[in-house]
């Protein structure tokens, strides 16, 4: 079919073809003008609040380009004196509105407000400064909020509502008193709705919502404590995210450099969470085969995403029996490391386990009561990808030029199945690899489940082994997950196994990763993981170090010891009316 001719728009004299862009702003950006704005997010409804995408459209006057549909023949000017003056004025108003002391802000260097002010050459603010002190809320383990830095672009509100279907935060009050807050103006840590996914922080253009980095100090202290050994492990997605902060192209795995950097930071043992991901697959997929055979609470739901698990507990507890009892890789790694340490004669509390995660919810997960043994947590500290970058920078390590190093054995070995955990669809694909071989010993390695690697909101696949048909589905984003569950409940969808990740795109797109917009970077990062996968063993049960655990630290797959260390239980947290 021939592509429909949609016409052209002239932007600053440059003719740009309309190719179904959502608004004029996208067309302006396509024309090569990187118009920095705050409130437009490609996957959210158009909001039109920041008024920084202003342009003059001939015959129509000054308009916010995010709200204008491109039409053939439009002539657009983005650099007239008037447009520049208006954009500058709105920026100046924002700068006066809050506590924008760049040197004291964790977002410095990665802040859109700072960038715009610099790009526009603003050196003076003509207006009264309204807020000069910070209003920090660090009650949530996952996130810190500082409303004094908030520019009210509403990205967080809309993401929580539109993408996650939760609405844990919203606008309150009006006019100059308007602010974004939780229900009943509670601290974030007290919110009954927040599942700690952090997608709000992922879209925050300034330093108002950020991952909670306060644990870094404790990690540094543990490293410097001669009585403690500190083990660190990095999640699959971290290796394709961290590099971006140091100028490395998105999607290029930097696990070798990370291993080197972690040793330079003083960690005693440097491991890979992918090891635990393989272990997760062994346990979770075995559980699935049992449940599938016994028709026990199907569809089974994955349980490795803590925000998702928290969501089920808070909003759809009727699906708790469907959740796999398998812990997340991070929460398998901790007890295994500590059990191993104890077996070798150490004391549990003398091993500090630090997890480097692409995720803010992991911070919440590590602090759950059920993951403590005698007041000692299975995972002591969680640091996000960006938090690790901060540590690397603070130590003055020239990351980009580090030579690659290997992870320590045995908890540093992994298969492709463990690595692709970081992308939405990866857990399911790894589980299918395991199940295919478990159900049919003659099954060949190398089968790729292409349909699960797409970026569509809802993906499905079917595994056929003889007469057996296993139907699986994958989605990411909690609103999508809710929709899928509603369909399951209504009998409109029939699956045996469903993978859900809270962050659209999976862990590579987590809130602990470097900030990004749109799908391009997410896809690059996932691609990086699949490229790694291709170099490694195919399925999790091929991880000899994982299988060697059984009989040593663990008993047998699904056995009592394995159950104690590798499985968990859930509890409804739904508010009773």
């Amino acid at each position: 079919m021939e592509k429909k001719e949609l016409g052209f728009v002239t932007i600053e004299g440059k003719k740009v073809a309309i190719e179904g862009e959502r608004n004029l702003l996208e067309l302006v950006r396509k024309a090569g003008f990187n118009m920095v704005t705050f409130c437009y997010q490609p996957e959210l409804e158009i909001f039109g609040a920041c008024r920084l995408c202003l342009a003059e459209v001939e015959g129509m006057g000054i308009l916010a380009t995010c709200t204008v549909k491109p039409k053939d023949g439009m002539v657009v000017h983005i650099n007239t004196d008037e447009v520049r003056k208006l954009r500058r004025m709105n920026l100046e108003l924002l700068l006066a509105s809050g506590n924008h002391e760049c040197t004291l802000c964790g977002k410095s260097g990665n802040c859109k407000l700072q960038k715009l002010a610099k790009d526009m050459g603003i050196t003076d603010i003509r207006f009264k400064r309204k807020v000069t002190t910070s209003h920090l809320d660090s009650t949530s383990a996952a996130l810190v909020r500082d409303s004094s830095k908030c520019i009210l672009c509403g990205n967080c509100v809309r993401t929580c509502n539109e993408v996650q279907g939760i609405g844990a935060i919203d606008f309150a009050f009006r006019g100059y008193k308007a602010k974004i807050t939780t229900a009943f103006n509670k601290d974030m840590g007290e919110s009954k709705e927040c599942v700690s996914c952090g997608q709000c922080a992922r879209v925050c253009p300034v330093g108002a919502l950020m991952p909670n980095h306060q644990e870094i100090e404790l990690v540094q202290k543990a490293i410097n404590n001669p009585d403690k050994k500190v083990a660190v492990h990095i999640a699959p997605a971290v290796r394709v995210g961290l590099g971006e902060i140091f100028g490395i192209k998105p999607g290029i795995p930097v696990d070798g450099k990370i291993a080197a950097a972690l040793r330079m930071l003083g960690f005693d043992y440097v491991y890979d969470t992918s090891f635990a991901a393989d272990l997760t697959i062994v346990e979770e997929a075995s559980e699935f085969i049992r449940r599938f055979t016994e028709k026990d609470h199907l569809p089974q739901l994955t349980s490795c995403c803590p925000a998702w698990v928290n969501y089920v507990e808070k909003f759809v507890p009727e699906f708790i029996p469907n959740l796999s009892s398998a812990r997340s890789p991070m929460q398998m790694m901790g007890p295994v490391l500590k059990a191993d340490f104890e077996q070798k004669g150490g004391k549990r509390e003398d091993l500090v386990v630090v997890a480097i995660m692409p995720c803010t919810a992991k911070k919440m997960e590590a602090k759950l009561d059920k993951f403590y043994v005698d007041q000692n947590p299975d995972t002591d500290h969680v640091v996000t990808t960006t938090g690790l970058a901060n540590m690397i920078k603070a130590a003055g390590i020239d990351f980009a030029n580090l030579p690659d190093e290997e992870f320590d054995a045995p908890f540093g070995t992994k298969t492709g199945g463990g690595v692709i955990f970081g992308a939405s669809g990866g857990v399911m694909e790894a589980a299918l690899r395991f199940a295919a071989a478990a159900l049919n010993p003659k099954a060949k390695d190398g089968v790729i489940f292409e349909s699960l690697r797409e970026t569509k909101e809802f993906r499905e696949a079917e595994l056929k082994v003889g007469d057996i048909k296993v139907r699986v589905a994958v989605t990411s984003g909690l609103r999508n997950a809710r929709k899928l569950l509603e369909d399951v409940k209504a009998g409109k969808a029939h699956y045996d196994f469903i993978e859900v990740m809270s962050c659209p795109g999976g862990c590579v797109a987590g809130a602990g990763q470097p900030q990004y917009e749109g799908w391009k970077i997410r896809k690059e990062r996932a691609k990086g993981l699949y490229a790694e996968d291709a170099k490694l063993d195919y399925k999790s049960q091929d991880n000899k170090d994982v299988m060697a655990l059984y009989g040593k630290v663990l008993d047998k797959i699904g056995g009592p010891v394995a159950h104690k260390l590798l499985h968990t239980h859930y509890k409804s947290q739904k508010e009773q009316n």
Partner: protein
Amino acid sequence: MPNKKIEEIKKDYKEAYKNITGRVTICGGTGCMAGGSMKVYDAFEAEFKKRKIGYCLNITKGCHENYLSISGCRGFCAAGPLVSVNDIFYTHVKPEDVAEIVEKTILKGEVVDRLLYTDPASKAHYKTTAEIPFYSKQERILLADCGRINPEDINEYIAHGGYAQAKRAYLEMTDEQVCQEMIKSGLRGRGGGGFPTGKKWDFTRIEKGPKKYVICNADEGDPGAFMDRSVMEGNPNAVIEGMMIAARAIGADEGYVYVRMEYPLAVVRMRKAIKQAEELGLLGENIFGSGKNFKINVMEGAGAFVCGEETALIASVEGKRGMPKVKPPFPSQSGLFGKPTVINNVETLATVAKVLEMGAEKFAAIGPKTSPGTKTFAVTGRVANTGLVEVPMGTTLRQVIDDVAGGTTENDGTVNKAAFKAAQIGGPSGGCLTKEHLDVPLDFDSLKTVGAMIGSGGLVVMNQNTCMVNIARFFLEFTKRESCGKCVPCREGTDQMLALLTDITEGRGTMKTLETLEELAKSVQKSSLCALGKTAPNPVLSTLKYFRDEYLAHIQKKECPAGVCKALSKYRIEAAKCKGCGMCKRACPVQAISGEVGKPHQIDPKKCIKCGACARTCKFGAVTR
């Protein structure tokens, strides 16, 4: 299907009404009620009982004596509480006047002269409303029944021809015909925007159904505006009939009246009228046997000015935060709950049946061609007769202020037409009109050419003792508070404009302040998301345009020419007038005044806190500022 045909109701009512010997109508508008009109009502009832004079409170078949009822707002709020006995019109009536009214007027047919309206200038007494200039200079079409009929009795509305046009629209006209008739009439939205009503309906009519909505925007928020409130309180059935006709025109089966919660009486009267209409089968299913349904819900807003903006209003009805959305899509395409929706304001909807009644051509012939019809104004401020007036579009500002409202007054209330300084039209979003605009016709297009807007019809008259910088500050204080906070220029810009204006009125202003203020005002106007922000700087820009010298006086001379801005006022004692009595010295709370008895006193400006106690105490007018 109505239980009883409206023609029968009309006939029965008129039959029963014939037996009435006298009609006492007490104004039940908010203004008069605040002035104690319900106590007057009770006094009448008590007096009738005491004297065993027959009376009824409802028009029914057996009723054959005096009919005591309330009415809606009669507009002449400055003279309330208002009472009429048949044609005789009494003002400022107190409960203690009632015995005399009953004795003289009801029993003997005599007039109580002292309660008649007295013209402040000519001192002439007027017996009936028809004689009073305030009424005789108006052209009351929309308000014709407002203040005349009992707003809580649907039968009287029907007896006056009510619901006949709705019936016509449902039974004799097609949806397209109704739209065409409205387009032909040229009726433009009275809410402020002035968009042609018929066109709006037609856009919605052609959208795909089946679910569509009609919303009556009764979130009248401009300070000083009370047209919509008066219409809802005085003739709620006219609003309902307008909504029914709109529903017929676009194919809606459900409507909402979104009333601000600060209008409790309007809410009560609207609800009562809807209930009565439902009982008569005028609302509900199978209206007039047409097979069409229409129901109306009343919803109270939570008191946000921005909810008068249609997209914010829709969000509020949906239970969301009242924040405007970007348009398109327009409500006609995707409005309430995503369905095609028509939103009209109260006055527009209340005019609809009148348009059909008189015919599009006749309506179009009133006033200027591009702004036909009449318009109501809520006239407040420094005028002799504040209140609600209705005049043909195109009437000049001078006619409204001088002829209808009795002229500009001094601060003490005496009429002095020359004291007129400016009029703020269109509320906080409007602009100010000055002496040079007194003969500008008040209509959508003429006002636009002078940088003002008709808005919803608030008209605040100001005299020479008004500081225009302070006025701009006053309106901005309002819009700053009422901005929803969504877009940057409105949320932050109004706050900063106010800060700059405060700097000027408190003597901290420099020429740089003025320059920044002007640039900011223009910027907020150009770059805000919705009409609230786009129009918020109007008071600043129009006062800057017409009264720049006042700004300059504040900045360069640190003086407020009108003597309003406290921080700039300098109290002085005129030696020639001072008798040295020492009263001011004793009144001064900070011992800033010194002087020997019998000799002129002095004020120490360093100590003075500008409280004005000295000026108020001085019997000789020696203290000036």
